[in-house]
């Protein structure tokens, strides 16, 4: 956006670019709301999901949004637990991005369940054996933690000049920051990996059922979450024209991301080797054959998940030639985000494509679960993106997301 002004302008100048941006957000939100209403009215019938592929685009968005929100707990832990105060200036922003990610996921989840009116059931009717129950609890608790962590920032907004007691409470809450960071770390580690376990524990699905699922999910989240925070910080800086977080801090985050991406890549490599080569089973080989023959799984795996999602960003984040240039870092983050979204899609839809086999005979075969999102699903997805952009824009404009030094 070409609205960079020197020294931080007080009001948005309503130049064409800003107007276009606001218009775009409103358009996205409008499409989203219309699609959501259509889904609530007609039921999930109007989506393209089916009994053989009961989860699709929306679950992919959930998983991606939560993974992309992982910058919050990672960077909070870095500052409050490992005491690397250098990263203090970005913590608030990271928590803000995390909050957007998690609230996005919850919104999409409400769309995705058949009975949105019963969204509160997991809190009342417990099934402690269910990973999904655990995830629901963790996500809501963590959302609450982020709200508390973030309360001081909201309290600093101009609006609260009139209510000093709000500031007082916020100041007290801020003292809880290290404790909240610890709690947040624990809960995030739990549910970020449980999201992988959601798939990893399903013993009837050959390409899901493996213990590496949770590990790959959490590693990819730890890698990509902070990278997205870093990229958004740069973009915020370019848009607002204010230098908020020192370059070396952002570059350190990128380097951290790069290293974790390499670790993630390493685990993926071994997972691939173990599952498809050294320890392959007939059902898994068959499943992968089917995916290779009938879907672009192979292409999207190697090109998007591995090359675009891991190798490219690792190069951009780690080599001095590229990581001194913010443009490359933002590009790297974009690649990594693409990789993680495609990965979540491949896991979900790829896994469901492979039909179950339970008949004792040799003839009967279920159809492969073909799925491509329908219009209402895309509509809701666009609305969700609009929500994220709107929150980011409002936050960057109205909240002190990058306050200078916090004395603790």
């Amino acid at each position: 956006m070409a609205t960079s002004t020197v020294g931080g302008q007080k009001r948005f100048s309503l130049n064409p670019a800003t107007l276009a941006w606001i218009g775009l957000i409103i358009l996205c939100l409008g499409i989203g709301i219309i699609s959501a209403l259509a889904v609530f009215w007609n039921g999930l019938y109007i989506t393209n999901m089916s009994d053989s592929v009961p989860w699709g685009l929306w679950i992919t968005i959930d998983l991606s949004a939560i993974a992309l929100g992982a910058g919050a707990f990672t960077l909070s832990a870095v500052v409050y637990l490992f005491g690397l105060k250098r990263f203090q200036p970005i913590v608030r922003f990271a928590v803000f991005v995390g909050f957007i990610g998690y609230s996005t996921a919850l919104l999409t989840l409400v769309m995705d369940i058949g009975r949105p009116d019963r969204f509160w059931h997991p809190w009342v009717y417990w099934n402690v054996h269910s990973v999904l129950w655990e995830i629901t609890w963790c996500i809501t608790i963590y959302l609450a933690i982020m709200l508390v962590e973030f309360a001081p920032v909201i309290a600093e907004a101009k609006f609260f000049d009139r209510y000093p007691w709000v500031r007082k409470i916020a100041k007290y809450l801020h003292k809880l920051a290290p404790f909240l960071a610890l709690l947040g770390l624990g809960i995030s580690l739990l549910h970020q990996s449980s999201l992988g376990a959601t798939y990893g524990i399903v013993k009837s699905r050959p390409i899901w059922f493996k213990p590496s699922m949770p590990i790959m999910f959490i590693l990819s989240a730890i890698a990509v979450g902070p990278a997205l925070t870093m990229a958004l910080a740069y973009i915020a800086e370019w848009v607002s024209g204010k230098k908020s977080v020192p370059d070396d801090v952002l570059r350190s985050i990128a380097r951290f991301s790069g290293f974790v991406l390499l670790v993630y890549g390493y685990i993926r490599f071994w997972d691939l080797a173990a599952v498809t080569y050294y320890g392959r089973t007939p059902s898994v080989s068959e499943a992968f054959n089917l995916l290779r023959q009938q879907t672009p799984y192979n292409f999207s795996f190697w090109v998007f998940e591995i090359f675009v999602g891991i190798i490219l960003p690792a190069i951009l984040f780690l080599t001095p030639r590229f990581n001194r240039n913010p443009g490359y870092l933002v590009m790297g983050a974009l690649f990594a985000v693409t990789g993680i979204v495609i990965n979540r899609w491949n896991v979900t839809v790829g896994g469901l494509f492979v039909p179950l086999s339970y008949s004792p005979g040799t003839l009967y075969q279920l159809e492969p679960g073909k799925y491509f999102p329908g219009l209402p699903e895309w509509g809701v997805a666009i609305g969700i993106i609009g929500y994220g952009l709107a929150m980011l824009t409002l936050g960057i404009r109205y909240l002190p997301l990058f306050s200078k030094e916090e004395h603790s």
Binding site: L44, G114, N127, S130, V131, T362
Partner: protein, 289 residues
């Protein structure tokens, strides 16, 4: 300390020594506590107990309803499918009328009947209700306990609690679950020819499944009937089978028909390697599988 130049030499103070020593001792103690000690999650699991858990799953005191399906007898008439769809008012696309292969969401029955072949190529018919697993993946994953085990081993849905997340549908190894994607508006073609609807239609947005005609079992027991013996208390699919390929009864009762058959004939259960301990046993075709 800070005035000194950093040295590479390792200096071990008494304090450091105590910390390191303490940590080492602590780890040893912790490892013992966690592997065999009272804190260990595995400490109490011994072989007998593993078997005990299985017994707890399988040998519920009281009834444990089960079914035997004789693949050798089955003639593929689909009567079971039809009676089931009428009795439980299941939305099913009649196969002959569903000639649209592009239809994105065919309405599948609770109780499928399909053509099958043995490895040798001999055709046979395979049918499958819900298998009512003793260790059911769907029950494990449901976040709200909307699907649960009854005392008598049946896996049942609570349609008032289900949130429609469809995780059970994904976790079920036997494709036995069906989601209500829309409000029912169809006219059930199997009613009244094959029976009348004995339970209400399920609302939009919940997952549904075969219940072994639980309404008949419960009402029948109350009225003094024996499920599997008396038609009033027996699932519709079992009653209607013209060749007696389906048997129903109490697996915990050694004198029931199902227990007798299981103890005398060779039976298999579907995907036994998953450890689901299904309550449905199959007698395989005479030619083998």
């Amino acid at each position: 300390m800070s005035k000194k130049k950093t040295k590479l030499k390792l200096e071990l103070t008494r304090r450091d020594f105590l910390i390191v020593g303490g940590a080492a001792a602590g780890s040893v103690v912790a490892s013992q506590l966690l592997t065999t000690g009272p804190l260990s999650p595995f400490a109490n699991i011994k072989q007998e107990q593993v078997e005990g858990i299985e017994e707890a799953i399988l040998n519920v005191t009281g009834h444990r309803w089960g079914m035997v399906i004789n693949l050798d007898k089955c003639i593929g008439c689909e009567y079971c499918l039809r009676a089931c769809s009428a009795t439980n008012d299941v939305w099913v696309d009649i196969p002959s009328e569903n000639n649209d292969p592009e239809k994105k969401r065919p309405e599948k029955p609770w109780n499928i009947v399909v053509n099958e072949k043995t490895t040798a190529g001999t055709p046979f018919y395979f049918s499958r209700p819900c298998l009512h697993c003793g260790d059911a993946p769907c029950v494990e994953v449901c976040p709200v306990k909307a699907t649960y085990h009854r005392e008598d081993g049946l896996v049942i849905m609570n349609y008032d609690r289900c949130i429609g997340c469809r995780y059970c549908e994904i976790a079920c190894p036997y494709d036995a679950r069906k989601f209500n994607w829309q409000e029912r508006t169809d006219v059930n073609p199997y009613i009244p020819t094959w029976g009348i609807a004995e339970i209400p239609r399920r609302p939009r947005g919940v997952v549904e499944k075969c219940t072994f005609c639980i309404h008949r079992i419960d009402a029948g027991l109350k009225a003094g009937y024996i499920p599997g013996e008396d038609l009033e208390a027996t699932p519709a699919c079992v009653n209607i089978c013209p060749v007696g390929a389906r048997l129903f009864g109490d697996l915990n009762d050694p004198d029931s028909k199902v227990s007798q058959i299981i103890s005398t004939e060779t039976t298999i259960r579907l995907r036994e390697e998953l450890g689901t301990e299904t309550s449905v046993y199959y007698i395989i075709p005479r030619e083998g599988l």
